[in-house]
Amino acid sequence: MRAALFVTCVNDAVYPSTGIATVRLLERLGVEVDFPEAQSCCGQPQFNTGYRRETEPLVRRTTRAFEGYEYVVTPSGSCAAMVRRHYPEIGDAAAASLASRTYELTEFLVDVVGVTDVGAYFPHVVTYHPSCHGLRMLGLGERPRKLLEAVKGLELRELPGAEECCGFGGTFAVKNSDVSAAMGQDKVRSAVSTGAGVLCGADNSCLMHLGGILSREDAPMRALHLAEILASTEEEPWS
């Protein structure tokens, strides 16, 4: 099986480790991975801030970049949701076709590759925050938790109020920074209360926000993308 990686602009520039983990993980499962270099940003921040016209060229670019791939995989629920949900409204038939071929990582693993045990090893206590776009717009459901539960050595602790928004919300984090931070602080408090040392998510933008709070508050917990946990094995442990 062959798939194109849509790494997303945030992962490309700030969290390459998530992209690398995704590549390693997929290759380990026998998926041949391509990285079309013409890709950049899906346009979600622009679109959600009210700049629909400015989003159109990015929709065209992204659509062109992934032409011809049967599967496009992205380790970001919110970018997957943007393509799935809004590309058909903004772009042409090709954009709509991309929407139907784009998968968030956990969807791809469970629905297309057909695995929940990816052979990972990660001996840490982990709690999982399901980001809103993955949860509500994509309906990822139990997929991420099932994948985590199958990881050897990993103890999964339920996050109280898991389904509540962490307060990132793209430009919301800046335009309403006080409310955003209050939401993030509450989320961090719930996460820390589980006693886990790792706060796992499938969206690095939410993790950037939560990680920024964890760091500011010197909390005994780190934020880590799900792909990095799944990529970790006994032979090649992720730190």
Binding site: P16, G19, I20, A21, R24, D178, G197, R216
Partner: protein, 502 residues
């Protein structure tokens, strides 16, 4: 707080003030979480919830599409049943009509059923200016009125108050408005309710004029419907000689069969009850039973304009259940007052800027008062896609330009150009990565982000460069990829702002 939203600051400023109030945050958190948990259970009891939701949506959409026809039908039915219909283009016109109707009775007091429409037009203040006292009879609305406060929730206007605060308001204010609170009033719910009951009973028995809104108007019979939990509404609707109902034109449903859908979805969504304790219906006038004169004031006040907007019009489906407020994480922290309008929370953020226009600072800030998490859409019993309308309204505001948006637009354009040229993007990423040791995690001037959050540390190289080195030319890169991987992974946790203990 004094009884008007005029001159409210934009949402972020008002929200910041509310966030500083610990009591308010505690009250709101407790109240919204209790009701949202109950709602979930009440909704789960119905296995046809999804169908009811879809039916509600379709009925409302159909009605809105043919609103002209149904309004004419309603007017005919109400008139035939002995009522009088008045049309009000805006708040001023509606207030004038009501004031004249009250004056014509020779009375200077009215009792009121809790109503969003009369709050929207500021009826109480308008009547006061004409020398007419309007008494709120809904318990929560009474607390707001006595406290010279503003409502902060659609269904529970005094949600931001706790029992101790309510007892103090009753003790201090009831006497000035009528029957005083009993000596030594405690803050137990039973005592507070009894004090309110005694205070209100006096008013019900004296009032000659009642003013109400309505949850629904049935076009085929001209019947108005009010659903409530306390029974005060029924007193106001049946005891006075004259009844004046002010209702938004979107409240119409074609038939009784349509009503059946909403009588199931509204109570479960709002109070988590299977059925409303009191459902009152009145059709014109009836000899020897209830008010002898009935006036219906049909209110537009921005609704026709809202209807003209293909995306935004879905806000007119709203049945004011307030479920979206109770699940909204932004509402929970900011409180209702921060929205600067009688409609707070997610529905307020899309309805107020449409009804009032986006001219004021507070109205232009409302569509941004959301993280677009989508919880509101999930619970809405008429499936209003609130996030979709928020983004749509943001587009309108960004298009108009003005304060802040010109700069933002320029930045978006510039970043758009970069994103459309991946070579330039890659070069920029490389520069940022190479100079990363120069980026402190608390950048002075990056205020909005770094006030409470550290910035992530940038990686040594962007993903595309790793790919080039390790995968693009697979033949040469095959062997050293593992090394490179572990070098990357070691820096991964730090990138998100690692805690000190790790």
């Amino acid at each position: 707080m004094s009884g008007t939203y005029l001159g409210m600051p934009a949402f972020p400023v008002a929200a910041k003030a509310a966030l500083g109030n610990e009591t308010l945050r505690g009250n709101l958190r407790h109240a919204t979480h209790t009701i949202r948990d109950k709602r979930e259970k009440a909704v789960a009891e119905l296995d046809d919830w999804a169908l009811l939701r879809e039916a509600g949506k379709q009925i409302k959409d159909h009605t809105l599409r043919h609103l002209d026809r149904y309004l004419v039908q309603l007017e005919e039915s109400v008139t035939a049943a002995g009522g009088v219909v008045h049309w009000a283009r805006d708040a001023a016109e509606a207030n004038r009509i009501v004031a004249e109707l009250v004056k014509a009775t020779g009375e200077s007091e009215v009792v009121k059923v809790k109503s969003m429409a009369t709050q929207e037009i500021g009826l109480n203040e308008a009547l006061e200016a004409e020398g007419i006292s309007a008494y709120e009879t809904d318990l929560a609305e009474l607390i707001v009125q006595l406290g010279d406060d503003l409502p902060s929730h659609i269904l529970v206007p005094a949600i931001h108050r706790n029992r101790g605060e309510i007892r103090d308001i009753f003790r201090e204010q009831m006497g000035a408005w009528g029957r005083a609170a009993p000596e030594g009033l405690s803050d137990t719910p039973a005592d507070l309710a009894e004090a309110a009951r005694l205070h209100l009973r006096e008013k019900f028995l004296r009032a000659k004029v009642g003013v109400s809104g309505a949850n629904f108007m049935v076009a085929e019979t001209g019947t108005l419907v009010v659903v409530e939990s306390e029974g005060n509404g029924r007193m106001c609707l049946t005891l006075p000689e004259t009844l004046i109902s002010v209702v938004g034109i979107e409240k119409i449903v074609p038939s009784w069969q349509d009503l059946e859908v909403f009588l199931q979805t509204l109570p479960r969504s709002s109070t988590a009850e299977r059925m409303n304790p009191y459902t009152s219906m009145w059709t014109g006038t009836t000899d020897g039973d209830g008010p002898r004169a009935f006036h219906l004031v049909l209110l537009d006040n921005g609704r026709t304009d809202t209807l003209a907007d293909e995306v935004g019009r879905q806000a007119l489906r709203c049945i004011r259940c307030s479920a979206c407020l109770n699940v909204c994480p932004v509402y929970e922290r900011a409180g209702g007052h921060a929205y600067g309008s009688v409609y707070p929370g997610p529905i307020g953020a899309i309805l107020s800027p449409q009804l009032r226009g986006i001219g004021s600072e507070v109205d232009a800030s409302l569509p941004y008062a959301s993280s677009l998490c989508g919880a509101c859409y999930d619970v809405c019993p008429v499936a209003i896609d609130i996030p979709e309308v928020l983004v749509h309204l943001r587009e309108r505001i960004a298009d108009r330009g003005g304060k802040g948006h010109r700069l933002e637009k320029a930045a978006i354009k510039a970043s758009g150009w970069v994103f459309d040229h991946p070579k330039v993007l890659a070069a920029g990423e490389r520069v940022a990565s190479r100079t990363r040791k120069l980026h402190p995690s608390r950048v002075p001037g990056a205020g909005a982000w770094t006030d409470s959050r550290d910035l992530p540390e940038l990686p040594p190289e962007p993903f595309r460069d790793w790919w080039k080195k390790n995968r693009a030319e697979k033949n040469s890169a095959g062997n050293n990829s593992a090394e490179s991987n572990s070098a990357e992974s070691n820096s991964s946790a730090k990138n998100r702002g690692e805690g000190s203990a790790t």
